[in-house]
């Protein structure tokens, strides 16, 4: 008897998850996407590549990340709360998992330079870090609004030897940084790898980035079995493009656990969008009646994005995962709540997950909740000083 295939299988040959995904890029980039697809397929099947990546993840990024139980906050909310501590990885977020995978692959492909987009700056910092480690040239595009609200990360990237370019077009946030990175790649594709920071973009990125983040779910699954002897009732993560969420979901997608991806109210692609095509993929997208992409508005630079990775659209369409929203005000509360009750300052992105748990706790009494703490909040302290006065 054949085992039932996982809900999280590789996409179709055209990069589809159900009716989402694909490769909607200018002709210029098609050969590069094809080359990347075959290079990744080959590397991912190569035990030597896998061993090399595992060893960098361990010796350099500090994996495995630990699982922390929040006793105080859990008791207060009437549930059991476990945190997957991606904030403790080198560079302070889950982003490093994907970046180490992609830069190792870029070197294998003979690329000399990477470009990246960044919102909160965590993917930019991770890219600058990996580029320094592996001797690659690195340029990071960042919306001008984000350059301002994430100034600390801008300085970190420069310290690490990366060039940071502020993007002044459109909403001057993550969406526009992706546009500019793609424009760079169209011009430099022969020497440059585009190190995309989430489970989005043209095939093979949504699949490849998910695979590089599977390590989160694999570890968390084992750690849950060891700690609670079972899978959790609910798995929660914030969703910008959706990489940290798919990473942790991957460990539980075929289990009975509820999967929750929390979007900001001002950037709710699944919640408020319709299927559309931008940045190389067909997915839920916030857009107007003519298909112009809407500007997202979120206190969190990393989630300030009107689209979402195509596999999330698929998981939503089949009802396997839910995508609720929280408001900026709820997030600002939750940010402080976690700091005061647990001594952990979460990134504003994953404070969205905290906010959802705090709000929905009355309906989850006695349940076990696993939350992906995707990053640490140091980068947000300056912005919060302004907000809290």
């Amino acid at each position: 008897m054949n085992p039932t295939p996982s809900i999280m299988s590789p996409p179709s040959s055209t990069g589809r998850f159900g009716e989402f995904g694909g490769r909607f890029v200018p002709e210029t980039l098609v050969p590069a996407c094809q080359e990347l697809e075959s290079a990744f397929t080959e590397a991912w099947a190569d035990p030597i590549f896998r061993a090399e990546l595992d060893s960098i993840l361990k010796e350099y990024a500090g994996r495995p990340s630990i699982l922390t139980e929040c006793h105080q906050l859990g008791a207060r909310l009437g549930l059991r709360l476990l945190l997957k501590r991606e904030d403790l990885n080198h560079t302070g977020s889950h982003k490093i998992n994907n970046v180490l995978g992609q830069t190792l692959l870029a070197k294998r492909m003979g690329k000399k330079r990477i470009v990246a987009e960044t919102g909160a700056g965590q993917h930019g910092v991770a890219s600058a870090t990996a580029a320094a480690l592996m001797g690659l040239e690195c340029k990071v595009y960042m919306g001008a609004v984000d350059v301002e609200r994430q100034a600390l990360n801008v300085f970190r990237m420069k310290l690490l030897g990366a060039e940071v370019e502020a993007v002044h077009s459109g909403s001057r946030t993550l969406k526009d940084a992706v546009n500019e990175a793609m424009r760079d790649w169209v011009a430099t594709v022969e020497s440059t790898h585009y190190c995309l920071g989430s489970v989005m973009g043209p095939h093979p990125y949504p699949w490849m980035v998910r695979e590089f983040h599977r390590v989160i779910g694999r570890e968390a699954f084992e750690q849950c079995l060891e700690r609670i002897g079972d899978v959790p009732d609910v798995v929660v993560a914030c969703v910008g493009g959706g990489s940290n969420a798919l990473g942790i979901f991957s460990g539980f997608v075929d289990s009975r656990a509820r999967l929750i991806g929390v979007e900001p109210a001002g950037g709710a692609a699944v919640g408020r969008g319709q299927p559309g095509v931008v940045h190389g993929m067909r997915s839920y997208l916030m857009q107007d009646e003519y298909g112009q992409v809407s500007e997202a508005h979120s206190v969190s630079a990393g989630l300030d994005y009107p689209g979402v990775g195509p596999e999330h659209s698929y998981l939503a369409s089949i009802g396997r995962a839910e995508y609720p929203t929280v408001t900026d005000a709820e997030v600002i509360e939750a940010f402080q709540l976690m700091a005061r009750t647990e001594g952990i300052i979460p990134a504003l992105e994953c404070a969205h997950a905290v906010a959802w748990i705090a709000r929905e706790a009355p309906g989850m009494q006695g349940q076990t909740i696993l939350m992906n703490l995707s990053g640490r909040g140091d980068k947000d302290v300056g912005q919060m000083m302004g907000i809290l006065g």
Binding site: E27, T28, R183, Q274
Partner: protein, 261 residues
């Protein structure tokens, strides 16, 4: 229309056979006064005019066309309002649109195709719709009698070019360089190199666009290609000098192309 015979292509082949190099000015629709710009281009020697439908996220466009798109959107332009104005254009020259795929995807392929035909548009260029993803749109365009102008890029391996050309209607848009639209000080070597590779595999008219920035570069590209698109150079002049700027410039390129026959 006779099946298998593309109206736009038939017309362009006839001009080519008469020894004329094809000139395709581009103008962003929805800029205040843009229809006068189209009329000026038509009156001064354009063979096809490309009307840009502004999009919020134009990834194939450089600063000039980005700015024009933003200005048009800020002025309240929509695909519907632009096509409405296009319908009232009384020019003889065939009109095609340049639009990003979401502009088509959002209303739906068949509905968008009928929006174009009822505005008197005869074709579409969709820069973020590569060959592999083009099936549903091409089917709708074919049955509406619209020409889908496919783009061919310098990065394409040899075996890809005939596939792109086989799907192209009207003409093949030969992308002149690695990069986005915008003026450059000289014509990239890739421009003539790709046009030459395309000419070797197709009889469909080959027109070079992206980075053909003035009359001199147009002449250079046309030593190999059947024609050129003039994008940022036209849009910049329109934003600075209005329709007269477009008319003068198109006349200048026309004359340069004609005198090098």
């Amino acid at each position: 229309m006779t099946p298998g015979l593309d109206r736009l292509e038939t017309r362009l082949r006839a001009s080519r056979a008469a020894g004329r190099k094809l000139l395709v000015p581009y103008l962003t629709g929805g800029l205040p006064g843009w229809t006068d710009g189209v009329r000026a281009a038509a009156a001064n020697g354009a063979d096809v005019i490309e009307i840009g439908l502004p999009f919020s996220d134009p990834v194939m466009d450089g600063p000039v066309i980005q700015e024009a798109s933003q200005r048009a959107l800020d002025a309240g332009a929509t695909p519907v309002s632009i096509l409405e104005e296009a319908r009232s254009l009384d020019v003889e020259v065939p009109l095609v649109v340049m639009c990003y795929y979401n502009t088509i995807h959002h209303p739906g392929h068949r509905r968008f195709a009928s929006m174009l035909t009822s505005a008197g548009i005869c074709g579409a260029i969709v820069p973020d719709l590569p060959l592999e993803e083009s099936g549903p749109w091409c089917a709708a365009a074919d049955s509406a009698g619209l020409s889908t102008i496919m783009l061919a890029a310098p990065t394409a391996p040899d075996e890809r070019l005939p596939l792109v050309c086989a799907r192209a209607r009207g003409f093949v848009y030969s992308v002149g360089l690695l990069g986005v639209t915008g003026e450059r000080t000289s014509l990239a070597a890739t421009a003539t190199a790709l046009a030459r590779r395309l000419k070797a595999v197709t009889d469909v008219p080959v027109i070079v666009g992206v980075g053909v920035s003035n009359a001199e570069q147009a002449v250079e590209a046309c030593q190999v290609a059947d024609g050129v698109v003039q994008g940022a150079s036209v849009v910049r002049r329109f934003m600075a000098d209005g329709a007269d700027g477009v008319g003068d410039y198109v006349a200048e390129v026309r004359q340069a192309l004609d005198s090098h026959r």
